[in-house]
C-alpha cells in the first residue's frame, strides 16, 4: 500500500469529517465539542471552544446569524438546537479563557479601512499574529457595529477593542475617502477595505474581491459585503462578513510574506460534508426554550444535551473487534499502513490486523463500503510474504487444517454403487469434526433421494480457507490445487456444500468447480413438501460467509418452515449478520475477543437460535446460548430431543480432530471395505484439565505423544515427594511439557501441561540423552 492508496482508503471512512453544523459554519465553529461541554455544564471549557474558533468572540457569539441551525440533524427530530442562543449564553456567563502574550511586532504594516465586522475580524486575526494593524474609521469607533447589530451592547464591543489595542492595533479616525485609500496603498504593506463600513471606498475599487481569497488588486483585499435575501433585500450576515474578514486576513498575510494566495485553499468555501450519521434509535426531543428572556444555566445544559453529537461509527457500534482497539476504520487504516512501513521498532498493529473476523459486516453497514476485511487480509498476506507474521497468530489453526487434510481425516469417495459420481457431498471440516453421525445421515439421504442415475460421492476435506484467512496464499492455493485434482479425478461432480465458508471460498477462488449449498439442494429438489404448522419459534442466525448468498438464506428459512419451525429475524440479519468469532481465525489469534464476539451475537438473539453453520452453532452454545443446527430439525438427521440438542456442548479441539478421523474411518469401513481402527490412549486426565489445556492449544494427542516420547527416552525429571514426572517434547515449533504419574499397568495420569515457543538447548529432545 502506498501513500496515495492509503489516502484513498482513509477517505472512505467519514468519521473524522465535519458534522453538518460545522461544515455549514463559514467560521468552522466546532459546535459538537461546544455542545458537549455545555451539556456537561463546563462553561469555561465551552468558552474555550468559542474563543478557538470565533474571531472577536465577545461580538461574534452574540450576533451570529447561525446558518448551522438550518442544517442541524436535530431539525427533524424535535427541532434544531438553539446554537446561536447557547453561544450567546456561554459568552455572557463565562469569563475570557485565552491569554495573549506580548510579541515583537512584525516589520510590515496592515491598514484596515472601515471598522465593520469584516474589518475588525481582519484586525483581530492579524494582530494576534503580531502584525501591526491600523484601523481607520469614521465617527465614533464603537458606533459602527452597534448600529449594524442591534443585539450588541457597548461593553461587548469595548471589550474586543480593548483586546485589539492590547494586541498592538492602532485605531484612527479619518475620513474614508480615495485620498486615504491611495495613502494606505502606498504607505502600508497591505490594505483591507471593509465593504460595509467603507462602502464608498469599496465601490471605488472598480473590481470585486475574489470570493475564495478576498483579493482585489495589488496589495488590496476587501470583504464584508452585504448579503442578499431570496427576495432581493440586502442585509448584513454576520457569519458571512466575519468569514470574508478571516479569508482576507489569510490572503493579506500571504501577500506580505510572499506566499501563493490560492494554494491549499479549496476547502474554505466547502459547505458540504461526507460525514454519515446513523439516526436509528435517536428519539425526537423538543427544544428546551428559556422560560425568561435568556437561558438559565440548567436550561442551557438541557438544550445542549439534545445535541446528537453527529458521528458515524456505523460499523464500530456493531463490531466488538472494531470497538476493542478504540478507533475506527480510518485510524486503523493509518495504523496498518504504519505497521507495514516502519523500519525499526515494534509492529504495533499486528494484533489489530490479526484480530479482524474478515466477516464483511462493516462493509455492509458503511455507506462508503469501507472494508476492514480487505485491509486486514492484504496486510496479513504482506506480513506472511515479508516474514513477520507472528507464529502464534495462526499456526495452531493451520496445523488443525493440515490435520483435517491428513490421510487419516480426509478422503474422496466416489459413488459406492459404481454409478457416475454426478454429485459429491462436501460437509466441510468442522461439520465433520462436530457432527459425524449427521454427516453420514445426510450423505445417505442424498444418496437415496437423488435420481437413481446420479451417483453421489463424499468428499471429506478442509476447503483451505484457514490458510486464506491467515494470509498464507501459497498454502491456500496449493490446498485448492489438491482439491481441484481430486475433483477432476472424480469426474468433476457438483459439490453439495454444508458450510457457508467452503461455499464462498470455492465460489471466489475456484469458480470452475460447480457448487450448490446443501440447503438449496434439499429445499429445491429433495424435500419438496408443504410448510408445517409452526410448533416452535427460533431466532435465525445467518452465517457471515452467507451474507451475500440469498439462495442459502432463503433455503434455510424454507426448510425450517417445512419442519414446523417459525423463525424470528434479529436486528442484524441476512446481509448484515455478525460473525460468531470464528471467521478470519479470530478464534485462534484472539480467543478472548472471539468469545466476546460469540456472546455479543448470542445477546442479539432473543430466542433460542437456529444456525445453518456448525461453527456458529457450536460457538453460540459455548457462549451459553441455546442453539440448534439446521440438521438437528431435518427429518433425516434430526436428534431425538431438540431441547437437549440445543444445549449439547460442542466437542473440544482434541475431540474435533478425533471425530474427523473417526468419521473418515467409518466411511472406510462402511463403504470402502476398510478395517476399523480403534484409538486408545495411555494417558488419562480429568476432563476439566483437558478444557484448560485446549485453551492453551495443547491437545490430548500432544500430551499422549509427549509422555510416550519421554518414557521411550527415559528422559524425565522426578519430584521426590509427589513422585510426579516432568519431561518435554518438541515435535514442531512448540515445546510441550507434561507433568504426570505412571501407573503400574503402563498407563499414565496427566497432572498438568504447558508449552512455549522459545528454544532451549537440552530441553525438548528426549532422544538426546548421552
Amino acid at each position: 500500500m502506498d501513500q496515495a492508496k492509503l489516502r484513498e482508503i482513509e477517505a472512505r471512512c467519514t468519521q473524522e469529517a465535519m458534522p453538518r453544523c460545522r461544515a455549514r459554519c463559514p467560521l468552522r465553529m466546532d459546535v459538537r465539542a461546544f455542545m458537549e461541554h455545555m451539556a456537561d455544564g463546563k462553561l469555561r471549557e465551552a468558552r474555550k471552544v468559542l474563543e478557538l474558533h470565533l474571531p472577536v468572540p465577545e461580538i461574534m457569539a452574540r450576533i451570529c446569524d447561525h446558518p448551522c441551525e438550518d442544517h442541524c440533524l436535530r431539525r427533524d427530530l424535535g427541532g434544531s438546537l438553539a446554537i446561536g442562543a447557547l453561544e450567546a449564553f456561554c459568552i455572557g456567563n463565562a469569563d475570557k479563557q485565552s491569554k495573549s502574550f506580548p510579541r515583537a511586532p512584525k516589520a510590515v504594516s496592515i491598514a484596515v479601512l472601515g471598522n465593520g465586522l469584516a474589518g475588525l475580524v481582519v484586525a483581530f486575526e492579524l494582530s494576534r499574529k503580531a502584525y501591526p494593524v491600523t484601523i481607520f474609521h469614521e465617527g465614533e469607533a464603537h458606533g459602527t457595529l452597534l448600529q449594524r447589530f442591534s443585539s450588541l451592547a457597548q461593553e461587548h464591543v469595548a471589550r474586543e477593542y480593548e483586546g485589539l489595542l492590547k494586541a498592538g492595533c492602532t485605531v484612527t479616525e479619518r475620513v474614508l475617502d480615495a485620498a486615504l485609500l491611495e495613502k494606505a496603498r502606498s504607505g502600508f504593506t497591505a490594505v483591507f477595505v471593509d465593504a460595509d463600513a467603507a462602502a464608498g471606498l469599496f465601490a471605488g475599487l472598480g473590481a470585486a474581491p475574489d470570493p475564495a481569497t478576498g483579493f482585489v488588486t495589488g496589495n488590496i483585499c476587501a470583504g464584508g459585503m452585504l448579503a442578499q435575501s431570496p427576495t432581493g433585500a440586502l442585509y448584513a450576515s454576520s457569519s458571512k462578513q466575519a468569514s470574508e474578514g478571516r479569508r482576507s486576513a489569510v490572503t493579506l498575510e500571504r501577500l506580505v510574506t510572499g506566499v501563493s494566495l490560492t494554494a491549499e485553499r479549496g476547502a474554505e468555501l466547502t459547505r458540504e460534508t461526507p460525514l454519515h450519521t446513523p439516526l436509528d434509535g435517536v428519539m425526537p426531543k423538543a427544544p428546551v426554550l428559556p422560560q425568561g428572556d435568556a437561558y438559565l444555566p440548567e436550561e442551557a445544559m438541557q438544550e445542549a444535551a439534545r445535541c446528537i453529537r453527529c458521528e458515524c461509527l456505523a460499523c464500530v457500534r456493531e463490531c466488538v473487534y472494531l470497538q476493542k482497539y478504540g478507533g475506527y476504520p480510518r485510524t486503523y487504516a493509518r495504523q496498518i499502513y504504519n505497521n507495514a512501513s516502519i523500519v525499526k521498532g515494534g509492529h504495533l498493529a499486528n494484533a489489530l490486523i490479526n484480530g479482524c473476523m474478515l466477516c464483511g459486516q462493516c462493509t455492509e453497514l458503511c455507506p462508503e463500503r469501507f472494508s476492514m476485511a480487505e485491509l486486514c487480509l492484504s496486510a496479513r498476506q504482506d506480513m506472511v510474504t515479508r516474514g513477520y507474521m507472528p507464529a502464534s497468530a495462526h499456526e495452531f489453526a493451520l496445523e488443525d487444517m493440515e490435520s483435517a487434510n491428513s490421510e487419516t481425516c480426509a478422503l474422496f469417495m466416489g459413488d459406492p454403487g459404481g454409478k457416475k459420481t454426478v454429485y459429491a457431498f462436501f460437509p466441510g471440516c468442522q461439520l465433520a469434526a462436530s457432527r459425524g453421525e449427521q454427516v453420514l445421515a445426510t450423505y445417505e439421504f442424498l444418496h437415496d433421494a437423488l435420481p437413481s442415475g446420479e451417483g453421489v460421492g463424499l468428499f471429506l476435506s478442509c476447503c483451505g480457507v484457514p490458510a486464506h484467512w491467515a494470509g498464507s496464499e501459497e498454502k491456500f492455493q496449493s490446498g485448492l490445487a489438491r482439491i481441484r485434482a481430486e475433483w477432476e479425478r472424480a469426474g468433476r461432480p457438483t459439490l453439495i456444500m454444508a458450510c457457508a465458508s467452503c461455499l464462498k471460498t470455492f465460489g471466489e477462488a475456484a469458480p470452475g468447480i460447480p457448487t450448490v449449498s446443501l440447503w438449496a439442494m434439499l429445499d429445491g429438489h429433495l424435500m419438496d413438501m408443504p410448510t408445517k404448522p409452526a410448533e416452535k419459534t427460533y431466532c435465525i442466525h445467518d452465517p457471515c460467509a452467507a451474507r451475500h448468498d440469498e439462495a442459502w438464506q432463503k433455503a434455510v428459512r424454507s426448510l425450517a418452515a417445512k419442519c414446523g419451525v417459525s423463525l424470528e429475524e434479529p436486528r442484524r440479519t441476512g446481509m448484515e449478520t455478525a460473525c460468531c468469532g470464528y471467521g478470519g481465525l479470530m478464534w485462534n489469534a484472539q480467543p478472548e475477543l472471539a468469545a466476546v464476539a460469540a456472546r455479543h451475537k448470542a445477546d442479539a438473539l432473543d430466542k433460542p437460535a437456529l444456525a445453518s453453520c456448525i461453527m456458529c452453532r457450536d460457538r453460540l452454545v459455548a457462549s451459553g446460548k441455546e442453539c440448534l443446527h439446521l440438521l438437528d430439525i431435518l427429518p433425516f438427521s434430526k436428534t431425538d430431543d431438540g431441547s437437549k440438542a440445543a444445549l449439547a456442548a460442542p466437542p473440544g479441539l482434541s475431540a474435533r480432530r478425533a471425530n474427523r478421523a473417526a468419521l473418515a474411518g467409518r466411511v472406510r469401513v462402511t463403504y470402502l471395505g476398510g478395517t476399523a481402527l480403534s484409538v486408545t490412549y495411555r494417558v488419562t486426565m480429568a476432563p476439566e484439565l483437558l478444557v484448560e489445556l485446549e485453551r492453551k492449544h495443547i491437545l490430548r494427542e500432544d500430551v499422549e505423544r509427549s509422555v510416550l516420547a519421554i518414557e521411550a527416552a527415559g528422559a524425565r525429571f522426578c519430584e521426590r515427594r509427589s513422585g510426579h514426572y516432568v519431561g518435554s517434547w518438541r515435535p514442531r515449533r512448540v515445546t510441550f511439557w507434561v507433568r504426570y504419574s505412571a501407573n503400574a499397568d503402563g498407563t499414565y495420569v496427566l497432572h498438568d501441561a504447558w508449552c512455549h515457543r522459545m528454544t532451549v538447548p537440552d530441553a525438548g529432545r528426549p532422544g538426546s540423552l548421552p
Binding site: F717, R720, W737, W754, H756, M758, D762
Partner: protein, 71 residues
C-alpha cells in the same frame, strides 16, 4: 528487553531420574526469533538437561515471545 535471570522449579524437590542427580541452577541461553537471553534454569549437572517451570513458560517467556513476534 530482558528476562530476569534466575528461575527455580515452581515446587518440590526435583532430580534427573536417569542420572539420579538433584537439579542445580545452571546458566543457559534461550532463543527465539534471532534473539538470545541468558537465564539460570534448573538443570541436571550431569546430562545438562533443562527444566522449564510452568510459571516461566506461561509468564515471562510468553510475554517475551509476544514482544519478539511483534518486533
Amino acid at each position: 528487553m530482558s528476562m530476569s535471570p534466575n528461575y527455580t522449579p515452581d515446587d518440590g524437590d526435583w532430580i534427573c531420574e536417569a542420572c539420579a542427580c538433584p537439579l542445580e541452577q545452571q546458566k543457559v541461553q534461550v532463543f527465539y526469533l534471532e534473539s538470545a537471553f541468558d537465564v539460570s534454569l534448573p538443570a541436571c549437572p550431569r546430562c545438562k538437561r533443562i527444566l522449564i517451570p510452568k510459571s516461566l513458560a506461561e509468564g515471562k517467556m510468553l510475554e517475551v515471545e509476544a514482544l519478539l513476534e511483534d518486533k
